[in-house]
C-alpha cells in the first residue's frame, strides 16, 4: 500500500464510546444491556490513539500528509468518542451509525467494521485498544484481521515502523517479552503498557471543530441488516445477574490464640 512506496501513512484507530469505568455499572432492560448514560471514550482506546499519533509524528505528522482517522460504531451519542480522538490529534473521523447495528456481538461488529474499512479504501495500520472496557471480549481486532485478510499484532506496545514498511511491536506476558513484526497493512491492538495517552491541548480542542467526520449508515456500506445487530450476531446473552455482594470475612477475636488461629486459617487455604 501507500507507505511502503513512500506515500503518506494512513492509520485508522477504532474507538468506542463506553460507560465511564469510574462509576458503578448497571445492566438494564430485557436485553441485559449496560446502562450507557454516563459514557466516555474507552480509556484503553486512548492508548491506541496515542500509538497512532506517535506513528505519524515520527514521520512528520499531519503536516507531512500522514493521517490518523478515528472510527467508531455506535448510536448518535457515540460521536463523542470520535470527537475526543480528534481533540487529541486525529486528523478526521468516521461514525458508523445505524439503528440496525444495535445489539451486535463481536462477530457482527467486526463484520461492520471490516466493511467500513474496505468502503473507506483501506489503511496501512488499523489500531485498536486491547479490549473495550464494557464488553471486554478482546476478540474484535483478531476477527477484523481475519475478515480483512491482514496480519495481526495483538496485545502489543512500543510500536515502531521501519522505513521498509515493517511494523515492530512488543508483547509482554508475566514471564516473557516477545518482539513481533508484521508487514503493512496490518491490524494491531495495543495494551495500556505503552506511553500514557496525551491530554487534548486547547489548540486540539478548538481545532477539532474544523475537522471532518463522515457518518456512514448500513446502506452506505451496502451491508444487509440481517448480518449485523441482534439478528446477525452469533452469540446472545441469555441471562445476566448482578453478583451477590461479598460476605464479611472470618473475624478472629484475640483471646491469646489469635496467632495460632491465623496460621491455621492460612494453612487451611494452602497459603502457607
Amino acid at each position: 500500500m501507500s507507505v511502503a512506496s513512500g506515500g503518506p501513512l494512513k492509520v485508522l484507530v477504532l474507538v468506542k464510546h463506553v460507560p465511564d469505568a469510574q462509576f458503578d455499572r448497571h445492566l438494564a432492560g430485557a436485553d441485559h444491556s449496560i446502562d450507557r448514560s454516563e459514557s466516555i471514550l474507552s480509556e484503553l482506546d486512548e492508548y491506541a490513539i496515542e500509538s497512532a499519533l506517535q506513528l505519524i509524528e515520527a514521520r512528520g505528522g499531519a503536516k507531512a500528509g500522514h493521517t490518523v482517522t478515528a472510527l467508531t460504531m455506535g448510536p448518535e451519542r457515540a460521536a463523542a468518542a470520535v470527537k475526543k480522538a480528534l481533540q487529541m490529534g486525529a486528523t478526521d473521523g468516521v461514525h458508523v451509525c445505524d439503528p440496525a447495528l444495535a445489539g451486535s456481538d463481536a462477530a457482527a461488529t467486526s463484520l461492520a467494521l471490516a466493511t467500513a474499512i474496505n468502503h473507506l479504501g483501506g489503511f496501512d495500520v488499523v489500531l485498536a485498544g486491547m479490549a473495550s472496557t464494557d464488553g471486554e471480549t478482546s476478540i474484535v481486532p483478531a476477527q477484523l484481521a481475519e475478515r480483512l485478510g491482514l496480519p495481526q499484532l495483538t496485545m502489543a506496545s512500543a510500536l515502531e515502523l521501519g522505513d521498509d514498511g515493517v511494523l515492530t511491536g512488543r508483547r509482554d506476558s508475566d514471564t516473557t517479552s516477545t518482539t513481533l513484526q508484521a508487514t503493512l497493512p496490518a491490524v494491531v491492538s495495543v495494551t495500556d503498557q505503552g506511553e500514557e495517552p496525551r491530554y487534548p491541548n486547547f489548540k486540539g480542542i478548538m481545532g477539532a471543530k474544523k475537522k471532518k467526520t463522515v457518518t456512514l449508515a448500513l446502506s452506505d456500506l451496502g451491508l444487509d441488516a440481517a448480518h449485523v445487530g441482534v439478528a446477525g450476531s452469533w452469540t446472545h446473552v441469555e441471562d445476566a445477574q448482578a453478583r451477590p455482594p461479598r460476605t464479611a470475612g472470618t473475624v478472629i477475636t484475640d483471646e491469646g490464640d489469635a496467632g495460632v488461629q491465623l496460621v491455621d486459617f492460612l494453612a487451611d487455604k494452602k497459603l502457607l
Binding site: 475526543k84 481533540q87 487534548p200 491541548n201 480542542i205
Partner: protein, 378 residues
C-alpha cells in the same frame, strides 16, 4: 452565558483530568516543602495554559477571558497556589503579546506559552503597594539602553522566572511617567531577596527583585515611554478575574469536602448533614460561590466584549469572589471541627492560600475604591 459550550466543556474536562492527576496529589507536599513545581508548569504549558488569552500567532492559545476563568477555577480546585502563579504568568504573557511589537512577541511569547520560560509581574515596591503610581524604581535612558535601579516587593516566581516585566519610572510625572520594561533573568545587576516566609502560597517563591544598575536595551520596553501604568492596570483587569476564579476553585473544593464530611460524620444519633444549622451553612457557602461565579462570568464576558463597565465589573467580581472563596474555606474548617485544623484534611491550606487573594491584584479595599469613585464621577 450560563451554559458552557462543547469546547468549554472539553477544556474544563481536560484541565480537571490534568490537575487531578498531576497537581492535586502533590499539593500538600509542595506546600509543606515549599516546592515550586516548574516541571508540572511546563506540562501545563504544553497543554496551552501558558498564554491562554494571548493571540495564536506566536504560540498563545487564543482563548477568551470567559474560557480563562473556567480554566483557573479548575486548576485551583487542585491547588490555589499553582493556579494563581499560572494566572500571574498569563498576565505577563498577555501584556507582552498585547503591547509588544511583533519582534518582542516573537522573542518572548513562544517560551512563555509553553511555560518553559516563566514570567514575573513586577509592580509593587516596599514603599508603594496600593498606591502603585508612587513607585520609585527608576529606568534612566543611556544611549540605546535603560539603566534600572530600585526594588520590587512580593514578586511571585522571583528567582525562577525567565522574564521580569518591570514597571519603572522614566519621568517624574506620576502615573504618566511609568514605562513597562522586560528584564531577562541573568542580566547583570539583577538579584533577589530572601524567600519570604508566608501564611500560604508556599508552592511558589515570593522574593524581592532588586535592580542595581541593570542595563537592558531600549527595545525591551513595551509600548511607548509613559505607557507602563496603563499596561500594568490592563493586565490586572484579567488578573483580577483569574484570581477570583482561583478563589472559587479553592472554595468549591472546601465546600465539597465539607458536604462529604457532614454525610460521613455521625454525632447526636445521626449524620451531621441532618442538622439543619449545618445544612444552612452549606447552603450559604454554595450560594456565595454561585453568586460570585455568576458575577465573575459576567465580568469576563464584559472584558471579552470590551464593554465600558468591564473595569468596574472586574473589580466587583474580584472582591466578591475572593471574599466568597476565603469565607467558604474558613467555614469549611469550622464544619470539620478539630479535623479542619489538621493539615491532613487539606482545608487549612486552602484557607491559608486564599487569604492573600483578598490582598493582592489590588486589595479588596482598592476594588471598593475603584467602584466607589466610578459612582462619584457620574
Amino acid at each position: 452565558m450560563f451554559e458552557l459550550n462543547d469546547e468549554q466543556q472539553a477544556m474544563v474536562e481536560m484541565v480537571r483530568d490534568f490537575a487531578t492527576e498531576n497537581i492535586a496529589p502533590h499539593a500538600d507536599r509542595w506546600d509543606q516543602e515549599h516546592h515550586f513545581p516548574v516541571d508540572v508548569l511546563a506540562q501545563a504549558g504544553e497543554l496551552g495554559m501558558g498564554a491562554i488569552y494571548a493571540d495564536e500567532q506566536f504560540g498563545g492559545s487564543g482563548l477568551s477571558r470567559s474560557d480563562a476563568v473556567l480554566i483557573f477555577e479548575e486548576l485551583a480546585r487542585a491547588c490555589p497556589t499553582i493556579a494563581a502563579y499560572i494566572s500571574i504568568h498569563n498576565m505577563v504573557a498577555w501584556m507582552i503579546d498585547s503591547f509588544g511589537d511583533d519582534a518582542q512577541r516573537e522573542r518572548w511569547i513562544p517560551g512563555m506559552a509553553t511555560m518553559s520560560e516563566l514570567g514575573s509581574y513586577c509592580l509593587t515596591e516596599p514603599g508603594a503597594g496600593s498606591d502603585a503610581a508612587a513607585l520609585t524604581t527608576r529606568a534612566v535612558r543611556d544611549g540605546g539602553e535603560y539603566v534600572l535601579n530600585g526594588t520590587k516587593q512580593f514578586i511571585s516566581g522571583a528567582g525562577a522566572a525567565a522574564y521580569y516585566l518591570v514597571m519603572a519610572r522614566t519621568a517624574d510625572t506620576g502615573s504618566r511617567g511609568i514605562s513597562a520594561i522586560v528584564v531577562p533573568a541573568g542580566t547583570g545587576g539583577l538579584s533577589f531577596g530572601a524567600l519570604e516566609k508566608k501564611m500560604g502560597w508556599n508552592a511558589q517563591p515570593t522574593r524581592q527583585v532588586i535592580f542595581s544598575d541593570v542595563r537592558v536595551p531600549v527595545g525591551n520596553r513595551l509600548g511607548e515611554e509613559g505607557d507602563g501604568f496603563g499596561i500594568a492596570m490592563k493586565g490586572l483587569n484579567g488578573g483580577r478575574l483569574n484570581i477570583g476564579a482561583c478563589s472559587l476553585g479553592g472554595g468549591q473544593t472546601a465546600l465539597e469536602k465539607s458536604a462529604a464530611h457532614l454525610k460521613e460524620r455521625h454525632a447526636f444519633g445521626g449524620a451531621l448533614i441532618n442538622q439543619q444549622s449545618l445544612l444552612f451553612e452549606l447552603a450559604d457557602m454554595e450560594t456565595k460561590l454561585v453568586t460570585a461565579r455568576t458575577l465573575l462570568w459576567r465580568a469576563a464576558a464584559a472584558l471579552d466584549d470590551g464593554a465600558d463597565d468591564a473595569l468596574k465589573l472586574c473589580a466587583m467580581a474580584k472582591r466578591v469572589a475572593t471574599d466568597a472563596g476565603y469565607e467558604t474555606a474558613n467555614a469549611a474548617i469550622q464544619l470539620h471541627g478539630g479535623y479542619g485544623y489538621l493539615s491532613e484534611y487539606g482545608l487549612e491550606k486552602i484557607a491559608r492560600d486564599l487569604r492573600v487573594h483578598q490582598i493582592l491584584e489590588g486589595s479588596n479595599e482598592i476594588m471598593r475604591l475603584i467602584i466607589g469613585r466610578m459612582i462619584a464621577e457620574n
